[in-house]
């Protein structure tokens, strides 16, 4: 049995090493390499790519502080945070309504929530391109209401796309948390003179907090690295970290810089996960 315990895990370890550790090490190595003359990279240790995130060379070749990439990082964080917040606000009532239906209805509604996953993400984001476009339903309504300019290629358009893409990842854990609630607790709230709103705020919300936290991680982390929405709905005008990385490996042919930004992005994700784990542990200790 001891042998199996070791050998049984070998496929898992093999997969982790081959698909996660090796690529990660390669990216880390590239991030401290020099830019190749025709794209790619050349082996030589340098921290230039990381400096490039904060500084740029002026006409005289001096390094000066340049916040243009910081702005991209800031926008990425802000959009991911906004996406998470909006998803939370929308998912709570949706999950509550689903969790309080009959079992048959519940299964059907949960199926509907996951339905978008059956269609390729690219197709779904393209759909928003049409909906928000000048000839689209929302675009026309916007124009009819006297709105100026196009809705597309703005931060707002990206936000709409991101909320749409990631909201199922929020609804599912929140639904699970609400479904676990003893319905008698909600009745107890009403019985003790709490309006629906007070019951929601003082009973449902605190007790579904673990579900919301799980959903926040599931939404925030991929939202940080999102590429499709900024590319299609942001029209490439609104650069985000995902699109920045992509452009560096693609058009700009600056692999080391792209790798450096990728590692910064990953560090941000790891920080969020650590913060969440600490919070969960503190909570565990209290209970």
């Amino acid at each position: 049995m001891r042998g199996f315990r070791f050998w049984g895990l070998v496929p898992a370890w093999g997969l982790m090493v081959a698909t996660l550790m090796v690529p990660l090490v390669i990216v880390a190595l590239v991030s401290v390499a020099e830019r190749g003359a025709y794209g790619g990279f050349a082996w030589a240790f340098t921290l230039e790519p990381y400096k490039e995130i904060l500084f740029s060379e002026d006409w005289d070749g001096n390094l000066v502080f340049d916040p243009k990439y910081l702005a991209i990082i800031g926008r990425t964080l802000a959009l991911a945070a906004a996406t998470t917040a909006i998803c939370m606000a929308l998912a709570l009532p949706v999950a509550y309504v689903i969790a309080t239906r009959t079992p048959r209805m519940k299964a059907a509604l949960i199926y509907l929530v996951t339905l978008p996953f059956w269609v390729s993400m690219i197709v779904r984001v393209y759909a928003w391109l049409i909906i928000l476009g000048n000839d689209g339903v929302v675009g026309r309504a916007w124009a009819a209401l006297g709105g100026e300019g196009t809705l597309l290629f703005t931060s707002g358009a990206m936000l709409v796309g991101m909320v749409y893409s990631y909201i199922p990842l929020m609804v599912l854990p929140v639904f699970a948390a609400i479904e676990k609630l003893d319905p008698a607790l909600l009745e107890a709230g009403a019985d003790l003179y709490a309006s629906r709103w007070t019951t929601a705020r003082r009973v449902i919300l605190p007790l579904t907090w673990p579900g919301l936290a799980a959903g926040a991680i599931l939404v925030f982390v991929p939202a940080l690295g999102t590429v499709l929405e900024p590319m299609l709905l942001g029209g490439g005008k609104q650069m985000m970290m995902g699109t920045l990385i992509q452009s560096q490996f693609g058009g700009a042919r600056n692999w080391p810089f792209g790798a450096a930004v990728a590692l910064v992005l990953m560090a941000m994700v790891v920080l969020v996960l650590i913060a969440n784990a600490r919070r969960a542990m503190r909570k565990e200790a209290r209970a």
């Binding site: 003893d182 008698a184 607790l185 009745e187 107890a188 709230g189 009403a190 019985d191 003790l192 003179y193 709490a194 309006s195 007070t198 003082r202 009973v203 605190p206 007790l207 209970a287």
Partner: protein
Amino acid sequence: MTRGKAVEVFNVTKRFGDYLALDQVSFTIHENEFFTLLGPSGCGKTTLLRMIAGFETPSEGAISLFGTEIATLPPHKRHVNTVFQSYALFPHMTLEQNIAFGLENLGWDKARRQARVAEMLEMVHMTPFARRRPAQLSGGQRQRIALARALAPEPKVLLLDEPLSALDLKLRQAMRDELRELQRMTGITFIFVTHDQDEALDMSDRICVLGKGQIQQIGTPSEIYEEPENRFVADFIGETNFLEAEVIAVEGATARVRTAFGFEITTFQKGLTGPGRATLSLRPEKIGMEDQAAGNLLTGTVSAKNYMGGYTHYTVDTPAGVLRVSRRNAVSQAQSYEIGREVRLGFRDDSARVLAQ
């Protein structure tokens, strides 16, 4: 002394889809009364309680609380509180916060709230536990906090949904006395739902026996036990022997019947109008055995014996059918009758009840 009407239920019907849970139920609960809704599971007692609390609305009919119609009011606008079967204490709040929750929603100021919470904790002997959370309590302690939380807002009526069913036997007995005491102390009308006849008989001022969505009988515990309205009540409350009987004549509250034993008796009847077939209900402890046999006498053979500590149950085969007889194990070592032994039995006319079939 005439007492005010705390709750009036008038012609209430409740349907869940095609299922008729309650059928045209009407009754009145008086102020300061310990009123019990008793019945087997599925009889509609919990549905009735939930309609008074506001968690369900009647399909038809009216419910009033101290003269005010409440059948369509949401639960948070009714001045009644509930002790839930699962207690439903808020797990993320301390006991203090649990008790204060209702008071905050009613807009009590902080000083008044604190005083009331302290008073409630004192009342249920839980003061040292004020800062704990429900998960740190035993079942009996949770029960007490659930009571304190429900009584804190000074409800006009307290609703209790099988609150003792989750407790073990000893604790259940102690909580019965505590509940009864609390009811006397606070003077609040209690509506208690249970399927446990012992609880109902022990605690209630009046009992409403529900069965098949209808009221079978309302009365004091002794009325329910001694003068059951029909077969359902006689069968559900306590144990009884049902025997076939032939009605010879009905005279008001009494009837003369020919029993399955061959002799005729005259006793109290319910639900009979004239001659015909009827049921005789005879409680096991109303039948005397050997030295205690009196009245109408018959003989039988002991076919089973169950020693229960305080008393012994005998099953006796008689020519007219099987009778269950219960005999107290009295002051000195009681005489015991072995299986196979022939015994003399006897019962008085007026300890039997004649009921419609």
